[in-house]
């Protein structure tokens, strides 16, 4: 079961910050401002922000930005990054061509 989150928690209003235009997710080109705004609009978990904005869903699968996104969300929510749940890690660990994926070889003994 996931961590208890009352979505009515008042974070105050969304205030723009000077570095909101900074790219955080390099693959999907999602900015810090977009991530911050999503949190104010109710996205309170890494996974929800990910699904709403596509951060960490690009070719590198959040390898570069995962920690940064977590830090931004945690800061907006006023919690420690370690308190946030991680996104699920999914196969394949690297992008793989469909024809290769489809080409299952049996290495039977």
């Amino acid at each position: 079961m996931a961590m208890y989150l009352d979505r009515d928690d008042d974070l105050g209003g969304f205030h723009p910050e000077p570095d909101d235009d900074l790219i955080i997710c390099r693959c999907e080109e999602v900015t810090k401002g977009e991530i911050r705004r999503a949190v104010y609009e109710g996205m309170r978990t890494m996974t929800e922000v990910r699904r709403f904005l596509r951060v960490g869903m690009g070719l590198c699968q959040g390898g570069t930005c995962g920690k940064l996104v977590k830090g931004i969300i945690a800061k907006e929510l006023g919690v420690k990054p370690a308190e946030l749940e991680e996104c699920t890690s999914r196969s394949p660990a690297r992008p793989i061509e469909m024809r290769v994926f489809a080409n299952e070889v049996s290495d039977d003994e």
Partner: protein, 529 residues
Amino acid sequence: MKRYDLIVVGAGPAGLSATIEAAKYGLKTVVFDENSRPGGQLFKQVHKFFGAKEHKAKIRGFKIGEQLLADAEKAGVEVHLNATVSGLFDCKEITVIENEAMHHYKADAIILATGARENMIPFEGWTKPGVIGAGAAQTMMNLHGVQPGSRVLMVGSGNVGLVVSFQLLQAGIEVAAIVDAAPRVGGYGVHAAKVARCGVPFYLSHTVIKAEGDDRVTGAVVAEVDSHFKPIPGTEMHLDVDTICMAVGLSPMSQLLSMAGCKMQDKGGIVPIVNEYRETSIKGIFAAGDVGGIEEASSAMITGKITALAAAYELGFAEEKEFREGETCYKASLAQLHEGMFSPANKGRTDLTVTDEGVLLSQNLLKKGYLDLGEIMRFPGAADEVKKVHGIHPVIECTQNIPCNPCQDACKFGCIAVGADITRLPIVNPANKCTGCGMCVASCSGQAIFLVNDDFSETEASVTLPYEFLPYPEPGTKGMALGRDGKAVCEAEVVSCRLSPAMDHTALLTIKVPKEMSMTARFFKAVGV
């Protein structure tokens, strides 16, 4: 489905050590690595490693890689390269992408040794070509022989930032500065000192705030930060660089473990919860090396062995006696590396003010990357009694408790002592006569030992320093001696430049300087170079 006793994922220091250990007990083992050559990050490490002999101290990283490979080959380990493990599934099954096909394998035990990935910090322009990871710089210059840039700003003063800065200099690249948002140098003082004396300025409590340029980096803006790491307006400073290199920490590459369902925790990086043998919450799945928590390669090699030993015991290949003996030995070896100021227990501590010996730590070293003369004299390797020795003698500028002792082994004449506790500061024994062989200078992984001869001539002293740059200066070359801060302090002339196979590419450059400069001159720059 093809099944092994043990599958190891990652052929870096941890993975290879694990396979070699497993082979000892007769486990049918295979190791997969996505790279075209094994060794993980070892082949990018051109510096000599720290530790004691059993940790392969004073051997350069890439040579350790070669040794491990030879050992693995001798042990008959099956190594698959260009083989990407794409998934870790139920029942200890992995999928491997190899030769344009997907293979399924199972094993009774799986050791994940997938290493780490680099952390990044975002700033304006950080996506521009020319902003790279420190690992990228290493890869380009040390594996592919290509300079990543011509003038570099290094962001981060941890060991990676320091070591890579030095490697950049060795590759003929200028390092414009090292900045770190922290108020103290994060890495070993000796690594910092060898970069600082080449003239690289350190800006602590500074961070990069902008990469300038349109389609590539043409400059960087750095600024001082306050105690909350926020840039202080008005402190901005422009640096002419074409490359910004990020060395701001590493995070375990633990995705496969999460995928498998191992219980994980966030300790600044996502790591599996493991027991004393690095076994995860899923029996038979182990985490060796950085994937279980970031450490040095030396520790990774030991954790690799521990996991393989534990797997061998669990699967009935190792007898209890063998297991207990091996365990005791490896744990002791790991414990040695876990001692000292930079130990995992001391990580992040800023309250240490004195060494284990009670010597006040150098604040300059932490703030600027080098010690001032007054501070040096406090330490046992350079104290007054050392200075009073007539003729040639070592001066050891090793001022922090780090686990390392090759200097003690290097001196056959008993001039240098560290003792059984390898984190102790080396002591120079003035009673034993130094012959000036210089083996201590060449063997010090931190390049912190110098030979000083105040009696070189009537008016001159000689200073012998470790030198790992090309070209080697010819005897008679005139130039400037640089101080610990990298600034020219006096004129100097090369007396000799010695190199032997035993020194393993660390040349001993002897320069002569005015007598009073013997404790100040620490580097040499030929005039016109």
